[in-house]
Amino acid sequence: MKEASLENITKLFNSEIRVINLGIPIFADELKKQNVKVMSVDWRPPAGGNEKTMNLLDRIRAKKKV
């Protein structure tokens, strides 16, 4: 694999941290307490947690991109 560019990480080191949180809500609550900008996703298992349907949806999504 060719050498990864450091540009995006260098940019991150010099930016205000803004977070999107998916999952345990306490992690977003803790960031809010520190006045860090955070957006929570009201996450639910996709396709009602049915992995077969979820994989099928992912395949459709991948095809759409092509």
């Binding site: 560019s5 260098t10 080191f13 977070v19 520190q34």
Partner: protein, 507 residues
């Protein structure tokens, strides 16, 4: 006679922390003897069976189904307990609705906040990969707290991140501090000029907290997930993160912390990092330090020493051991009972403690044995000298981590007190954001209760990991344990030295 009340809500999802809090609240209801509120994972089903809360209606439930199981002294109280749980679950849904708008998908959140730069993912492992892909495709760095992600998927996700020049910190990454912002389980650490990369969550917490204690500070502390330096993952993120710190003008010294890497990975890492024009301190727990020195890096002997060496290179002044051997020897007391029991919430602290004590104790049992230690035949029962990691997957599947939820450790503490052969109990209290607001208080209450119930008083030793700027108040946490007679130390290695002083005399 006790009575069970079981409710199952099909295809209903709540996160483990919310469920833990609801379970704790129901447990306080009158007449309630035990409660499990959790998703129908294998681990929770095992817990239900162990706690005599299993019932035939639970056959066939899946990890997507929610279970409320209440054991009470009579049918009325069991019913009331279950109703209380349902009420709290409904309130949780209402509070979510009334809070700031939360989009239902990551894609939606990215559209709403295009300037976001980090996505913190802690959904169950089997769903995590697809969310990571979405984040990376949209140019976002990822911190992946979820575990139960396969090594194949980890490699695929890290390669995608490398192609895009993005950080993919994880899976199973609990600690990262970016630009002074502590994410997930991290401490409030002074800004400075030491950049840290670690394939070890509590290792990263301990070194950054000690850097702060020594008066120095950090630029960034980047967690990469415990498997990053394995043969297959071959340091993909460690190398990228270290190179980024190498290119960062604010970073003067780099510190790497990990369990020993696979030999092929170590070779690759050394050749990749040699070109960096900055001093690099390396602590590979249990590894041969001569090899690291020969490769041109600065080796460290333990987590405290790693922090001290990085601070010496940063400040140019000598840093001395926090608690001297003389001081530790003075505190040593006589042990009643033959065996040592370590109940850890931090995996790296558990690992380092086993390696430190193995030469002294000869045989150690663990759920996560280091080379030379033995695997426990039943992880729920200690034998001989036992040092366990309660934060390991075996204990956390479907329930909150022991740094948030003290229940599993308190149950284990009670069994250790009931065992006359347990002479000394070691534990960690990990402070910082993400952690329990008063773990020292929770442990102190449990210790006082266990002493009363068993009329036993094994030696208790704790490492309190954290800084004076953490939200829990470091001084108060020390006081709560010290005043009930727990020997409190500020680093894992001080605890190991105290054990040496008690057992065999500290050199």
């Amino acid at each position: 006679m006790s009575v069970k009340k079981i409710l199952v809500r099909k295809s209903t999802y709540f996160d483990s922390v919310s469920l833990m809090r609801i379970g704790e609240a129901v447990k306080k209801e009158s007449g309630v003897l035990n409660v499990v509120v959790g998703m129908g994972t294998d681990f929770n089903i095992d817990s239900l069976k162990r706690l005599d809360l299993f019932a035939p209606e639970l056959n066939g439930i899946t990890p997507n189904d929610l279970v409320i199981a209440v054991l009470a002294d009579n049918a009325e109280n069991a019913q009331k307990g279950a109703e209380k749980a349902e009420k709290l679950l409904t309130e949780r849904v209402i509070s979510k609705v009334s809070a700031d708008y939360s989009p239902p998908t990551l894609k939606g959140a990215i559209e709403l906040d295009a300037l976001s730069n980090v996505v913190l993912i802690s959904v169950p492992g089997r769903f995590a990969g697809r969310e990571v892909r979405t984040a990376l495709e949209n140019g976002k760095h990822v911190m992946l707290f979820s575990d139960n992600v396969s090594v194949e998927e980890e490699i695929e996700l890290k390669d995608e991140a490398l192609r895009r020049g993005l950080l993919m910190m994880g899976p199973d990454c609990g600690t990262t501090i970016l630009n002074g912002v502590p994410l997930a389980f991290s401490n409030v650490v002074r800004r400075g000029d030491i950049g840290v990369v670690a394939a070890s969550g509590t290792g990263l917490q301990e070194v950054t907290s000690l850097i702060h204690r020594f008066g120095c500070g950090i630029t960034q502390a980047i967690g990469v997930g415990g498997r990053d330096l394995s043969e297959r993952v071959s340091g993909r993120m460690t190398i990228l993160a270290a190179k980024a710190l190498g290119a960062d003008p604010a970073t003067k010294v780099i510190l790497l912390v990990s369990k020993p890497p696979a030999p092929s990975t170590e070779e690759l890492l050394c050749s990749e990092l040699k070109s960096l024009d900055k001093p690099i301190v390396i602590y590979f727990i249990g590894a041969d330090s001569a090899k690291i020195k020969n490769a041109g890096f600065e080796p460290a002997d333990n987590l405290e020493n790693a922090a001290a060496k990085a601070c010496e290179l940063s400040s140019g002044t000598e840093i001395i051991q926090i608690v001297s051997n003389e001081e530790i020897s003075k505190k040593a007391v006589k042990m009643q009972g033959r065996f040592i029991r370590g109940l850890y919430s931090g995996g790296t602290l558990c690992d380092e403690m086993q390696r430190q004590l193995l030469p002294l104790l000869g045989t150690i049992y663990s759920n996560t044995p280091v080379p030379g230690a033995k695997k426990l035949s039943d992880i729920h029962r200690s034998e001989g000298h036992t040092i366990i990691d309660l934060g390991d997957d075996d204990f956390t599947r479907g329930r909150a981590h022991p740094m948030i939820d003290p229940t599993a450790r308190i149950e284990r503490l009670q069994s250790e007190f009931a065992d006359a052969s347990a002479g000394m109990i070691l534990f960690d209290v990990v402070l910082g954001y993400g952690s329990h607001p008063d773990m020292a208080g929770a442990m102190s209450d449990a210790i006082v209760k266990a002493r009363k119930e068993t009329n036993r008083n094994p030696i208790l030793v704790a490492n309190i990991l954290g800084t004076d700027e953490d939200p829990q108040n470091y001084g108060e946490q020390v006081k709560k344990l010290s005043e009930i007679g727990v020997h409190v130390f500020p680093s894992n290695i001080s605890v190991a030295r105290f054990v040496s002083a008690v057992i065999g005399g500290l050199r």
